[in-house]
Subunit: 226 residues, 2 copies
DNA sequence: CGGATAACCTACATGCATGTACGTATGTAG
DNA sequence: CTACATACGTACATGCATGTAGGTTATCCG
């Protein structure tokens, strides 16, 4: 029984206990959202998978929407920490774009990345707070990519083409597609994403010598939510 | 006109009426599925948007699932007619892949293409008849692409890389991504899809002279369902 | 040790969407 | 003109998921 397990385990502070159950619920919710989406997500299943009941969930989150928004916020944090920070360290716009392509393709191995796609597709064309939250993140990211594309063009690094905003949308779509389609493949080849976006942007292809070696990146498993 | 022909045309009136309302409901359902997905699709809205009530819908379709399956079948037909046939006419595998890339990117302008994506995402990882129907279509398509990739490799047209099945998944993902992200943009540049998949597959980029001209394809609006 | 507070569970109320049964009107054949 | 079939509408029943209220158990502090 749950109560016996709790009383038998090591004593924790109330805040710790709260944070721990909150993390468990968030993780279960992220898994559920990535597979079932928002509408098909049933809260009792989420709570049970985390080892609780709906009562605990409604004690920690206001409602279903609040739970989903918390998951979206968690996604944004982890993405910024794992991908955005790496891209910000690059000085040249092309390098930053490639860093985003490879980093996001790698990030797509995580459960949360699939949740991002699922929610975005589900709420496209709707007017729902969760959809707006997702759109805000993606729009910010797209704006950054559009600025990078514009900068790379003005410096002559990539040839002219469609408007930067449109190219940025296609760019992110390509990166996401490669990441999602290849998530679960081992070894995970993040260079495929780079090859695709190079073609899209009009950059010269990667050197054949490097390409033949096929460098594969290995990712650590999902971390615990904070 | 003979009496048989007259009675035949008269007998047709009911069948025609049935087919017309069926088409109207199918079209409304496709629109609804592309924006709301399956779970959020409300049959009363579908029927009302087609100018009927749920009674007519349940007279022509067994249930919600049957309606969605009919939409999926309609998607498959139109896709084969507009994209698959074009690809089959190409003799060289690379040309067939490019034809699929450009054709599918163009096809993505249609409402139904968005429904295809929405349903596929919604039912990924589920065991639902609608999801199976979608998966069957996509799997067949992916198998065709994988065969084309393998053929192109054995003829030396494209360099070696990840397994053809994985490449085919990424290929379709890229094509879909470019098509979806750029649907609604005008002029619609199907060549972006070609550039992206060329990079992905390891093909040389398109000639700059042709690229600079930026040939845009214009599509007719959605046809009536048959 | 014991009250207070927070974490958590159980049971009920509500709303919404599907599916079904039945009613009506229009078309069709003998 | 009569009898039947088909297209479509209306109203009810059911199931399911959310949200809420109140009770129970665990933790904190004087």
């Amino acid at each position: 029984m749950t109560t016996a397990e709790i009383s038998g385990s090591v004593r924790r502070r109330q805040a710790d206990r709260r944070a721990r159950t909150r993390s468990a619920l968030l993780e279960a919710a992220a898994r559920g959202l990535s597979t079932y989406g928002y509408a098909n997500l049933v809260l009792e299943r989420v709570a049970n998978e985390a080892g609780y009941t709906r009562g605990a969930l409604y004690h920690l989150f206001a409602n279903k929407e609040d739970l989903a928004l918390a998951v979206v916020g968690w996604i944004e944090e982890t993405w910024n920490a794992e991908v955005g920070r790496r891209a910000d360290q690059e000085t040249h716009p092309v390098d930053a774009l490639i860093a985003i392509a490879r980093g996001h393709a790698a990030y797509c191995r995580r459960e949360m990345a699939r949740a991002m796609v699922t929610l975005r597709v589900e709420f496209t064309g709707q007017d729902h707070p969760v959809g707006r939250a997702i759109a805000t993140i993606v729009d910010r990211l797209a704006a950054s990519c559009a600025a990078l594309i514009a900068a790379a063009r003005s410096s002559g690094a990539i040839p002219p083409g469609p408007p930067p905003a449109a190219m940025a949308s296609a760019f992110l779509g390509v990166v996401e597609a490669v990441g999602i389609e290849l998530a679960g493949q081992a070894p995970f080849d993040t260079q495929l994403a780079e090859r695709a976006v190079r073609g899209l942007l009009g950059l010269p292809p990667v050197a054949p010598a490097v390409e033949a070696r096929g460098d594969a990146a290995v990712l650590p498993p999902d971390e615990e939510p904070t």
